[in-house]
Amino acid sequence: MDTLSNLAFGLGVALGWQNIIYCFIGCFLGTLVGVLPGIGPVATVAMLLPFTFGLGPAPALIMLAGIYYGAQYGGSTTAILVNIPGESSSVVTTLDGYQMARRGRAGPALGIAAIGSFIAGCIATLVVAYFAPPLAELALKFSPPEYFSLMVFGLVAAVVLARGSLMKAIAMVCVGILLGLVGTDVNSGVVRFALGQVELADGIGFVAIAMAFFGITDVVLNLEQNDKQEVFTSRIGSVLPTLSDLRTCFWSIARGTGLGSILGILPGGGALLASFAAYMFEKKIAKPPRAFGEGDIRGVAAPESANNAGAQTSFIPMLTLGIPSNPTMALMVGALMIQGIAPGPQVMTERPELFWGLIASMWIGNLMLLVLNLPLVGLWIKLLAVPYRLLFPAIFVFCCIGVYTVDNKIFDVYALAVLSGIGYLLLKLDCEPAPLILGFILGPMMEENMRRAMMIAFGDATVFVTRPISAAFLIAAAALLIVIAAPALRAKREEALQE
């Protein structure tokens, strides 16, 4: 009952005309940028961040959330029509979505993606509303040792679910933590690792890092390979799926939503894992006749529902614990900090209008996406026809302006160039950037909590294992590592992520 009244309160906030407009702009811009091939949600959110600087915390966060699921949805449009996933979470959508498009069923594929996303979004919003408050209450009881161990667990879980080598991913987390420590140490006031640069006293800009690793680096890699893709822009036909399509997909959407909601909460989960898992699950469980890989509509409905549900529930750890579970959420944490709000469980009690307004706005945002996408599909398709040689300079411009306007520092633009070079090198060596970003955001928090924990415990490091909740997190983290490192399971994980 309480949740319902809170939701109603949130709806009141989200339905303010101002917030509705920002939610709409967010969804619109997010889809617009997300449709562009090769730009994922992280780059989209980072690029559009400056649009929110002039706003208050609640509208800014609502708009960013809109950008996030807009980008998510835009990515699937690209996946279906061009066979290029706009982002990693729509990779599986290309499998059946593109095949549907080749068979002249692009319209229904787009339609079912929108409908599935909408249903999933609505249900996931409820999940967030019901699960976030108890978790936040629990988290309020955490003291520094628990927080430190929770962060260790979060990072380990995120790394385990990342692609590629586990060892390299942990190393990337460490690199991220170290980069995050650059700048003034809050505790002693010492400026660390600044190499004599005054600008580095505030640390390396997180927007610069995110844009470098997920925006510029991706563009450069795209420019290296110039294979042409067939775009189905000619005739899409009706975007409305037939009644029998809907009947076929009903349970797929339900299953996708369920799986997505659960996997989204896990650290490192979010949309990517959700869509992969949903597709594989669907492939096993769907009723015959099955035609997965050859344009089965359920192969679009399930992962699309799952990735939207996952995108939404991945807000839970961010909102309640202040711990981002994926790079996009790391950006959200950064955006909150820019707004002068320390992310964490106290946000729910101290800024209820922000907390519940955001949750309620997810509902509205999903409705907007549906309304926006079905009629506007034609516009998005036109965007896809823009050649990449005209697109990428525009991406550069928005990245540069975005990175400068965070702090109005020219230095950040130079940092963007340097970090892009580093990101390029790392990607060429198969070092995934996502763990680095998480480490970067969590690094300073980890140091702070470890320091406090040690202070209270008089330097006794066993405090992390003698306090039950903290020990539980560490044991869970260790168990995850052991499970993944075991060879038999590793093979399975490779197989799963490869599919």
Partner: protein, 148 residues
């Protein structure tokens, strides 16, 4: 001994290098002890962990097989980074309009299929759009023209 996983070998070395740099730099700050952790302690701990991982990754590359390091293409990377740096330089002295034009005109050469007329038009369009949206509509404090 033969390097069988070059990507791992080089990333291992890279991690060791980064770790060494941070550990080395950290030594000029106070280490403190576990009870009162100085500013040098945490970075050193993480640095040691990173170095250890780097060593394992590098050594492992002699044992397990891995793909070769892909070729680096100079053009897209160098042109892109140069264009971004140029944007910073131009923004500082010449203002936003010139910076955008410079960024687009230079950055467009990152691909071989550049077309001059289109690029010039694109530069103009992006400059107008950015000024209208970021400066006029959003009111972000960006210098538009050269500051003397």
């Amino acid at each position: 001994m033969r390097i069988r996983a070059p990507k791992d070998f080089w990333s291992g070395l890279l991690f060791i290098g980064i770790a060494a740099a941070f550990i080395g730099l950290a030594q000029q700050y106070k280490m403190g002890d576990m009870h009162r952790m100085g500013p040098a302690l945490f970075p050193t701990l993480v640095g040691v962990l990173l170095a250890a991982l780097g060593v394992i990754i590098a050594l492992r590359s002699f044992v397990i097989d891995g793909p070769p390091v892909p070729r680096f293409q100079a053009r897209p990377l160098i042109v892109s980074l140069a264009a971004i740096a140029l944007f910073g330089l131009a923004l500082n002295f010449l203002g936003l309009v010139a910076a955008i034009v410079a960024l687009v005109l230079v950055g467009a050469w990152a691909t071989r299929e550049v077309k001059l007329v289109q690029t010039v038009l694109l530069a103009a369009l992006l400059a107008v759009f950015s000024v209208a949206v970021f400066v006029w509509l959003l009111g972000l404090p960006l210098p538009l023209w050269p500051t003397s």
